[in-house]
Amino acid sequence: MGGRDTDLVLLDENGIRCDGRKIDEPRRIMIKAGVLKNADGSAYIEFGDNKILAGVFGPRDVHPKHIADTDTGILRCRYHMSPFSVTERKSPAPSRREIEISKVLKEALQPAVMLEQFPRTVVDVFLEVLQADGGSRCAALDAASVALADAGIPMRDMVSSIAAGKVADTIILDVNNEEDQAGQADMPVGYMPNLEKITLVQLDGILTQDEYKKCLETAIGGCKLVYEIQKKALTDKFFSNGESA
């Protein structure tokens, strides 16, 4: 963080980034819904070089029973990185970072999921990172939201997510791994596109007020792009083999 000097040119004079993208261009995103048979709902996302599987169970009985809530359902979320998801083997035990991301993603999904319809139950969301490449929490959140919809769990809106950041004093959309390591700021944003509400904002780095505003607007614009891809994933699974009603 903080703009360390490296040999890597993050942004050249033509406004092209280190991986050949323009400043407001996201990486390639592909989402597929319903990829796992045994889970109630599932999704697979490829977000640049991120590859993440999401599985959803529930609403179902809570175990251990004492954490059940008689007024509403509860949401549990586990974000986990496979040992082979990064270049150096990662210990499969949950790290400080994974525990934090699990909590943050749970809180980003909670406003969307209508758990009050299912008292005394739990909805479990499992996110398995198969390959990580910067911005995996955003990609995980996108997959989780599609998996929840695939499981038929009522939601106020989908949650779409993408990061924006600052590299070479310029605000960019969708921060990749190199930009995250050497850039000046990284801001993941979760957004409900129809309700126009934000469910997640984190910021690592320093931005001025104006930069912050621009960064948030850029990210929200990106979330709307992601939303279209999520929508397509669900439409493909549920409505592909029939004519429009």
Binding site: D61, A112, T121, M192, T235
Partner: protein, 226 residues
Amino acid sequence: MDNAKRKYVIPGDVITTAPFRPEQNVILDGKKIIATVVGTSEIYDDSVRVIPLAGKYSPKVNDLIIGKVVSHSSLSWELDINSCYVGFLPAQDVFGRDFSAHADELTSKLKKGDLVVARIANSDRSRDPLLTVSDRELGKIESGELVKISPSKVPRLIGKRGTMIQTIEMATNAIITIGQNGWIVVSCENRNGLLKAIKAIRMVDKQAHIANLTDRVKLMLESSGE
């Protein structure tokens, strides 16, 4: 059916901004009526609802359901009813008023794994749904094949005034018991008929959103021949 405006929706989709009455699986946000599940939206007269394409069964009083015994205590059985809650079947319902926890052994009537046709007697937010088998045609299922489909597709399997299910039963000579929770028991003397009926049910489950499904099923049942 005909005056209903239909549309495919996913959670968050705005169905309409007109002043209609929000019903199942929609929420009202200001003036917008928003879908909360993946499914087909319907606008009838002045009400809006979404028929879900996925999700678990939500128990409603008086629904006929099929459950599987998962465990029992000394006073009741617990049944898996394909919902997020277990169905609760009191022993008195099976043994009668003079049931005694000392004298009667619950496993003598229903064992783990048995299938039961039951009706939902009571269901509210604070307790697990209460089942009853004290009626004609309710109780333990002795024979048949269990087929599981999505609960939201049960109305499609029954069809308009039962046309779909009649078509399947007539063509295969099978007896089909449909639980509102998406569990179905098919029994048939003839092996071929049984397989055909199961195939037809699976077909309805997969192609529920396609128009003219009854004709397609009829065609399938006739084509595979004797």
